[in-house]
Symmetry: C3
Subunit: 268 residues, 3 copies
Amino acid sequence: MERLSERAARNLAAIREKKPLIHNITNYVVMNYTANALLAMGASPVMAHAPGEVEEMVSFASALVLNIGTPDNNRIASMIKAGKKASELGIPVIFDPVGAGATSFRTDAAKKIIQDVSIRVIRGNPSEILSLRHENSNTKGVDSLHSVEEAAETAKNLAGELNTVLAITGPDDLVTDGENVIRVSNGHPLMARVTGTGCTATVSVAAFLSVDDDPVSAAATGLAFFGMAGEVAGKKASAPGSFMIEMLNALYTITPEELEEGCAICDA
Amino acid sequence: MERLSERAARNLAAIREKKPLIHNITNYVVMNYTANALLAMGASPVMAHAPGEVEEMVSFASALVLNIGTPDNNRIASMIKAGKKASELGIPVIFDPVGAGATSFRTDAAKKIIQDVSIRVIRGNPSEILSLRHENSNTKGVDSLHSVEEAAETAKNLAGELNTVLAITGPDDLVTDGENVIRVSNGHPLMARVTGTGCTATVSVAAFLSVDDDPVSAAATGLAFFGMAGEVAGKKASAPGSFMIEMLNALYTITPEELEEGCAICDA
Amino acid sequence: MERLSERAARNLAAIREKKPLIHNITNYVVMNYTANALLAMGASPVMAHAPGEVEEMVSFASALVLNIGTPDNNRIASMIKAGKKASELGIPVIFDPVGAGATSFRTDAAKKIIQDVSIRVIRGNPSEILSLRHENSNTKGVDSLHSVEEAAETAKNLAGELNTVLAITGPDDLVTDGENVIRVSNGHPLMARVTGTGCTATVSVAAFLSVDDDPVSAAATGLAFFGMAGEVAGKKASAPGSFMIEMLNALYTITPEELEEGCAICDA
C-alpha cells in the first residue's frame, strides 16, 4: 500500500520531468479534452491517425493510446497498424474499448485489436471489459459483479484469459494482472457527468505507463492520480461545466507529495 | 401557456429520471459540447457514425440527432441509414440542417435526408429552414420574415409543405406543426458567441422528444429549457468562455420547478 | 512601432464591425476551440471540408485557414482544392503546418500545399517552419536559432526562399516577409499548456488578414492581440483549465484601445 503511494509520487514527478510524448488514436468527442489533460499533467500529446504516418509517429512516442469511441473501419485499421509497430518496438499500448458490447461492430473491432496488438493495459468499465471475453469463456456476465469480491474474482479470471492487465473503472477501480487485484478508491460522482472521463483516465494511465515498466503499478497510480484530480475538482465545483475545467486545473496543480498523501490504493 | 410550462417541468423531471440514450450523428465542432450538454441535463449521449453500427446503435436509443455541420458523403449516407432504421422503429428523429442554403452541397444533402427519413422535428435558423422549401414553393424567401407575424405565417406554411414540426430559433424561437405557432422567448445574446449553441438547442429538443410524444410541446419545452440555461449563465458570466461553462452548469442545476416558473412560451 | 500598435487597434475594430467569415479546414483536436476563439474576437467561423462544397464555401469567405494537424489524404486534397480556389479569387490563405518535420507524411503534405496554393502567411513554430525549407536550402537547421539575431536572419532567408510571409511563434514571435523582421513579445507561459494555442494564434492572424491587406502587419497585429489575450488570461488564472476559458473571455473583452496600449511589437 505505502509502496504504491510512493510509486505514484515518483511516477508523477517523472512525467513532469520527462514530458513523455503520448500518441493517441482516439475518438472525435474527447480528443480536445484528453490532449488538454495530458498537457496539464505534464505529458506531450500527439493525435495522428493517417495510415501514412502512424508507424513513424508512434516510433517517437513513449506510449500509444488506442480508443474506439466513434470508430470506423479506416480508424480501426490505423490503430492496428500503429499498435503492431508499437508492439515491435516495445512501446506500451493501452486500449480503451469504448462501447464494446453495445454493438457487434465495436465488440468485433475490440477483439480484433486485442488479437493483433500486444496490449499492456485495457481500461474500460465492467460491461465493456466483460464483452471482450472469449466465446467459450468461463467468466460469467454482468451478473458476476454483484459484490466487490465477485468482481475481483471475475476481473482476475478475465485478465488471465486475455493475457493482459485490466483496469476496470467505476465507483471503485480494480487493476489486475490475473494474479493480484488492486483497488483504487479515488474519484468523484461528477466525473460521470463529464463526457470522456473514462477516456481521460485512459490517457492518465498511458502517461504513467510511459514512466513505469510495471503495468499494474502504472495503471493503479495513473487511476489514483486521475481520481484524485476529480476529488480536488469536486471541492471547487458543484456542477459539470466548472468541474471539467477544475479537473484540468487539478491535473496541473497536484504535486507528487499531495498525490502520495491522497491516493487511495489497496489490495482488493 | 400554463399547460406548456407544466409540461416543461414534467419533461425535465422525466429526462432526469429515465436518462434516455440519445444517439448523435453530428459534426466534429460541437460533438464534445453537445455530449456534455446531454450529460449535464441528465440524458445519456452516444456518438456513432460507422455504417456498420448505426442501425444497431439507434435501435437502443430514445431519440436520434442528425446534424450536417462538417458534412461529407459518408457521413450523410450513415445519417440516412440510421434515420431510416429509426423511422422504422418509431424512434423520434430530429434534424439540424447546419449551413443548408450556404452551399448547394449542404442544401442537397439536407433535402435528401428529409426525403428519405421520417423526421419528427427540424431545428434551424430562419435561413437554413427557408433553404429547405420546395422549388415550386409558395413560401417567400428571407424577405418574408420582416415581422414576427410574417415569420409565423411563413413558418406555418413551410411546416405544412415539409410535413414536419419546425423549430426556428433566433432572438425569439418559433415552433409550428403547420397549424399552430408557439413562440419561445427564453435565451441570452451571448449564446450567439459560443459555437454550437444551435446544435445544442437541437440536442436539448432531442432529449425532450425522448420523453414527450407530442413534437410541438417537446420542441417548445426543450428550447425553453435551453434558453433558460442561457439566461442563468448570463447572470453569472459576461464573456463567452465563462458563459459556455455556465451554460453546462445551468443545464445541470435548473430544477423542474425553476423551469416551470422561468420558461417563456406563448402563442405566436 | 507606434504605427503597428495603431494598426492593431484599427484591425481589431474592423473585425468587430465586419464580422468576417473565416473558412477553416483544420484538425479535429482544436476545431471547437478555434471556432470559439473566432466568435469571441468578433469573426464568424465556418468549418467545411467536403470536396463537394469547399470551393463554394471559400468563395464567401474573407480568409481561409489550412491546418494539417490530424491530416489524412482526403483532408489534404480538400485543402488544396479550397486553397486553389481562394488563390484564384484573391482570398488570403494562412497555412499552419502542424507537425511538419515530425513525420515525412506531414512534411510532404505541407510542401505540396505550399507548392499548389498561393499562401499569404505561414504560421508555425521554429521546427515546423524549418522543415519546409527546400532540399538544397542554404538555411541551416534548428542549430541556426541559438540567438534572436540568428533566428531573425534564418527567418528572413526562409521567407525569401518560400516566397511568403512567415509568422514563427515561440516565447517571442518573429514575422518576416524576407526583408524586414518584426518581433512580437506578447504572450504567457500557460499558453504552452493548452492544446491548440498555436492553431488559435493562426486563426487570429486569419481574422486580421481578412481586414488588413498587408500580411506583415496583419500577422504581427494578430499575434500581438492573441498574445495579449494570454497575458490578460494569465492575470485571472493560474492553471490551464481556467486559463483556456479566460483566453476566450479576453478575446471578447479586450478593446482596440487596450490592444493599442498593450501590444508589444518592435523591429527585430
